[in-house]
């Protein structure tokens, strides 16, 4: 049944990824404007540069907002499917609530990752189109390849990948938990309550992660020769912390949905 639920969740949210070509076009336009700035007749006037600069800024801001916008649309679907009148359909399907929640978590994560990939492609388009962008990219790529020969770098990349996956899962689980709890505790302004809860939870989480960041800095400065090894150690700690947080919020949400859900 997971496959079927996931298919509908992913299809409903994945359609927003069709906006990706528009984002790429925006980036191409921004890079094109930067190229135009190099034209001799343009450099004599400040005004066109300002206009072009502002346009480039808004193009890039739109690109940056893309994954966030997609995440917001995914959360809207979560709220509508579970807590609006659509919940009468969702929760009377022959599917367990665990499967429904897991599908929402996985599909949101998958769509966000794809939005991130679309953003990376947009970045590549931008870098490769601006003047000297290609040489910058080649140099960056060469540095990255040579970095793999350093001891501990491969482990760092693996840890970075797992940290990314777990952090994304944790953020989604926290958002879902906040929405569920906000819906259950507030009589009115349920979305505002969910946002407040998310902010409070995030504030607590940030306090802990800031503490670990200090630990990270201390590790780097106290072991300049083995900085990468120290960094990997802190990454493992982050991984454990995020895994614990994800487990708590995911299963907390699952418990609320199974035992306390009351549709209006």
């Amino acid at each position: 049944m997971f496959r079927k639920v996931f298919k509908y969740d992913f299809r409903a949210m994945g359609k927003f990824l069709l906006l990706a070509p528009a984002i790429w076009a925006l980036n191409l336009a921004a890079a094109g404007l930067i190229r135009l700035l190099d034209l001799p007749f343009m450099t004599e006037y400040i005004f066109p540069e300002l206009i072009a600069g502002a346009t480039v800024f808004f193009c890039l801001a739109a690109v940056g907002f893309f994954p966030v916008g997609i995440l917001i649309l995914c959360l809207r679907r979560y709220y509508k499917n579970f807590f609006s009148d659509e919940g009468y359909l969702t929760f009377t399907l022959p599917v367990s609530r665990e499967t429904l929640l897991w599908s929402k978590t996985v599909s949101t994560g998958a769509v966000c990752v794809l939005a991130g990939v679309a953003e990376l492609i947009a970045g590549l388009i931008f870098i490769l189109t601006i003047p000297d962008g290609t040489s910058f990219f080649v140099e960056l790529f060469r540095d990255l390849i040579s970095a793999f020969s350093e001891p501990g770098f491969t482990l760092f990349v693996v840890l970075l990948f797992f940290n990314f996956v777990v952090t994304l899962a944790d953020e989604i689980a926290t958002l879902h938990f906040s929405i569920t709890l906000g819906h259950m505790v507030a009589k009115k302004h349920k979305i505002l309550a969910a946002f407040g809860l998310w902010y409070a939870i995030n504030f607590g989480k940030r306090l802990v992660t800031q503490g670990f960041s200090l630990l990270f800095l201390f590790a780097i400065f106290s072991a300049p020769d083995g900085a990468l090894t120290a960094l990997n150690g802190v990454m493992i700690l982050f991984l454990l912390l995020r895994s614990g947080s994800f487990t708590g919020f995911y299963f907390g949400n699952r418990h609320l949905l199974k035992t306390r859900l009351a549709l209006g």
Binding site: M1, K4, K7, Y8, K80, D85, E86, G87, Y88, L89, F91, T92, L93, P94, V95, S96, T259, L261, A262, L263
Partner: protein
Amino acid sequence: MLLELRQVCKQYNNGNVVIRDLNADLPEGRILGLLGPNGCGKTTLIKMISGLLPVTSGSIRIDGRLPGPDSAGIISYLPERPYFDPVMKASELLDYFSDFYPDFHRDTAERLLSDLKIDPKSRMKTLSKGNREKVQLALVMSRQARLYLLDEPIAGVDPASRDYILETIVGQYNRGASVVISTHLIRDVETILDEFVFMGYGGAVMAAGDVRETRAREGRSLDELFREVFSYVPQSF
């Protein structure tokens, strides 16, 4: 018994007892009218049977199964409100039901939509409230379920459409199944009912029995009997 309710109680978090010690059995092949005034707990009871709400105490069994994903496969539930995503097309809803319910008959649903002159390509948000309810009913009644739970199926539609809806219910339901219809519009539904339960406030059973026998014994319609039974019931529990 297809549906067994034993000492079912429902108390909300605010302390409100909506249903208290309700016992009932429903065999296969019967149409039961769950009749009562507004706020007496009809919708709450249907939500508990469908698995949307947990019982506070007591037990509900549907063909021996507890309410949940297992029982959802044999229950066809029509809530008292529009519950489809407004941006979905009727044809997409047919795909959705086909995917999740193996007992769903797509050709039956398409025929019902055609009878209703509803274009399968139309989105739910473009349909009138009455037509949305008819689409819901068409989908719900196109399943070969064991138990149909219909919560106020005729409350929001005009009198002419009510006849169509009642005909659809009687014409489409699986003969080996049972139907529970919750409503306070007794005059409209009593002709299709086999059994009835008059629910009072707090889920108290004020009267119950076979519809034809009761009408013959009392010498009046169920609607008249309902008016007499509930003429002295306090409006809050």
